[in-house]
Symmetry: C2
Subunit: 476 residues, 2 copies
């Protein structure tokens, strides 16, 4: 190709992760023409280096822990996990890092895939540099949607490059189990990956700068996870910074702020995320390269009526499911604006990603599981709501005791005292992962407390914690 | 005692199962004086011969099945369940059929317990015949609440008594595993107990009069359970009646309508329930002994302003959790009427058991689990709602595939097309038991479809079936 080819579309989507895929799906469903640009694998971080592999790795750990807590069964669950079988299963769930299936799906919805690196080269214009170095210009009559996601953020430690540290990508795709693993961080990636690798046979040391794990959640979540990880054999050191890392004869050495020297075979940095917006031509449309992109509730970038930023890049909620939700909203908004339809932009309308503010759910697939939706008590108070938190010890629920011998867990419901609705719910304990969606519906649905009394939990399930929470609120 | 003692209360409760306990709790909390009469164990059927023992027996079966479907773990789950450990754990969960704990709880709320057989001997009057034959008369200023529950109904087969058949009581409290077990019936008790005893080592033959299992639920529920039970080794014969049963030299012989002769060590009749109202003096207040007691939404018996029938006896929903719900409503209604307070008797008000009509949840703890709430498609159509059912194959949900290799399951949502709310949801599959409460909140909360789109399921959980259901409805 000697001359640059130009193709015109209604919508150009940068990034073919789950978020980009959903923008493409919704705009195609509305009859718009859509191009999708991807420089790596179609399916994105989630499919190959995050949700899918991490959960494929975690499920055996959780299922084994569950089975070992059931009298009559526990005795027959012997020995460690079969690490090679677990890793092979993980490979299956990432389709062995091949994207044929997802490419086929994009094709089936009639979106055009451009492989290569896409950069804005002006308003409504994206230039794609293909693997062969050739360039194509894509123009977008209606919208460009930036769905490039995020990458692991690494701290500025000298010599870090030579150490070849793990990020979430290596931690979810590693082919062998390191004998010793240092994990830096205390958030979701850190706790999930510490859980996996400790269970698969690594000796894990978790170095946490802050006071505890999962700092953005209710405090008891991190406390219960820390207890469980410690019991599983991990060494957790909170209030610990890392001052230097080196690799000597294959061995990683981390030196902490207090001068402790910790050796390991690998080191994982799970120290936050950075937006993948540094090389997508933002500067050509007056935006800062490498910045998170602020958007309104239709996911449109402030000040640019043709530009959308959907998923991690807008920094509203760095979660696949929330990005997909935003993608559905953004896709519908793009389509509505294309046809001149009035937007349902009021809170909870079809063109407003209201849940981003009030009802973001998250499940941490550790043992015990942690699941939360909406605001923590601290967040609700900070937001100016007049709230009351009620807590229930999950061991008081019959269904929990039946689920696991010696069940340990905790639930909190944050009630808005003015409106008598829920602002947030947090559950920690074995088997609570699927239970959080009940809270998500209650919070997003703004179902009043008086009506929740009519939502009867089946006896004897763990869901009966709902009755205990309502009673605790009534009797408080 | 030569003279009959009389004690006056505000409320007299007949039956100290979970339902009676909750009526006592709510009336005591309102400051009324309450007596509770119980002829067997405080805690009732649920604690000793139903929910608790059955779920203690089922949990190891389900947990083992779950564990064996997880690559990397499955190989290490060897051999059968340890039946003696399972039975011992069941004994623990029934407190070895001793009620000290529950007696202590009744005492703690300040309710007076009368051990003995209670019978109405006129309006607002209950006479208790104690274990020593002595009588006490209890009078009730405000209300008598009949919470005597139900018992297994046995068919009128000649010679049945000599066979000493199992009912739900024996099936949940048996001390040894029969080599061969015949189960008569196709409902919840039949499927759950067939699941338990087949897994503990019995050879189970299930004789079902009707066309399939779980006939009151969506048809696919019974179909999936039948497939799984058959795969587990049970012999299921539908469309099969039992004409006679005998026990010869210890062996039970059942002869079917087609002349087949089936031998077993024990035979379980799970053929429905009968109200325990045959010997409680109903005839002294103009009601029929042995009948179910029709009530209004405050659980008050039609035509008797002082008489309440709560739980199984009113035949609204024969489920512990629903009986407890009714007990909370009835207790509140009794208290409100006692103080002359206006009742919140409108639908979904605090004094109306509205969920009985619209949002009864049920979990069947089989493998796969079955969970449903509200109306099935057939029930919704029969009730005159204009509805549409949308189905989703659970194997299409990422979280399901991660939960279990080769996941098989199905979900149905019944949407009211006029009001755009859900009339019912049914889920069948491993791990769906805790997921149904999300549907219970959606149905009882009458959360509109448009709002359910903002209740984002966490990725990758089985709860993402919600997104698939909404998409299926949107695209239908």
């Amino acid at each position: 190709m000697t001359e640059t080819e130009t193709n015109a579309y209604d919508v150009v989507v940068l990034g073919a992760g789950p978020v980009g895929e959903n923008v493409a799906d919704r705009t195609r469903a509305a009859g718009l023409t859509t191009a999708v640009v991807e420089s790596e694998l179609v399916g994105g971080e989630c499919s190959y280096w995050a949700c899918m592999p991490s959960k494929a790795l975690l499920r055996p750990v959780i299922a084994r822990a569950d089975a070992r807590r059931v009298p009559g069964l526990s005795q027959s669950v012997q020995g460690p996990l079969d690490a090679s079988a677990v890793l092979a299963h993980r490979d299956y769930f990432t389709s062995h890092w091949k994207d044929d299936g997802q490419v086929g799906w994009l094709d089936s919805i009639g979106a055009d895939l451009y492989r290569g690196h896409g950069r804005l080269t002006g308003p409504r214009t994206v230039t794609v540099t293909g693997p062969d170095g050739g360039e194509r210009v894509l123009t977008a009559r209606q919208a460009v949607a930036v769905c490039t996601g995020s990458r692991a953020a690494l701290p500025g430690l000298p010599g870090l490059d030579e150490v070849k540290p793990w990020t979430s990508r290596e931690a979810t795709s590693a082919k062998t189990v390191p004998g010793r693993l240092i994990v830096i961080g205390g958030g979701v990636v850190a706790t999930e990956m510490a859980t996996v690798w400790q269970a698969l046979g690594s000796k894990v040391t978790l170095l946490v700068r802050g006071e505890g794990l999962l700092p953005r959640m209710e405090p008891f979540a991190g406390e219960l996870i820390a207890e469980a990880l410690t019991e599983a054999g991990a060494d957790i050191r909170t209030g610990t910074s890392v001052e230097s890392v080196t690799r000597e004869n294959g061995t990683v050495v981390a030196v902490t702020g207090t001068g402790d020297r910790i050796e390991a075979d690998e080191i994982l940095f799970a120290t936050g995320r950075a937006p993948r917006t540094d090389d997508i031509g933002l500067e050509t449309v007056g935006l800062d390269a490498g910045s998170w992109l602020p958007v309104d509730d239709s996911l449109r970038v402030t000040g640019h009526d043709w530009l959308y930023a959907v998923g991690d890049v807008n920094h509203r909620a760095l979660l696949t499911h929330q990005g997909k939700y935003q993608a559905r909203v953004a896709g519908a908004a793009i389509a509505a604006r294309a046809t001149g339809e009035t937007l349902a932009a009021q809170p909870w309308g079809a063109h407003a990603a209201t849940a981003d503010h009030a009802a973001v759910p998250q499940v941490v697939f550790t043992d015990p599981e942690v699941a939360a939706v909406g605001l923590s008590l601290a967040e609700a108070e900070q937001a100016g709501h007049r709230v009351k938190a009620v807590d229930v010890d999950l061991s008081s629920v019959s269904g929990a005791g039946l689920y696991a011998d010696g069940y340990q867990g905790r639930a909190r419901m944050v009630v808005d005292l003015e409106e008598e609705i829920l602002r947030g719910v947090t559950l920690v304990g074995p088997g609570v992962g699927e239970l959080i969606h009940s809270a998500t519906i209650a919070v997003a649905g703004q179902v009043p407390i008086s009506r929740l009394w009519h939502a009867v939990p089946s006896y004897p399930t763990i869901s009966e914690v709902w009755l205990r929470l309502l009673e605790a609120y009534r009797d408080a």
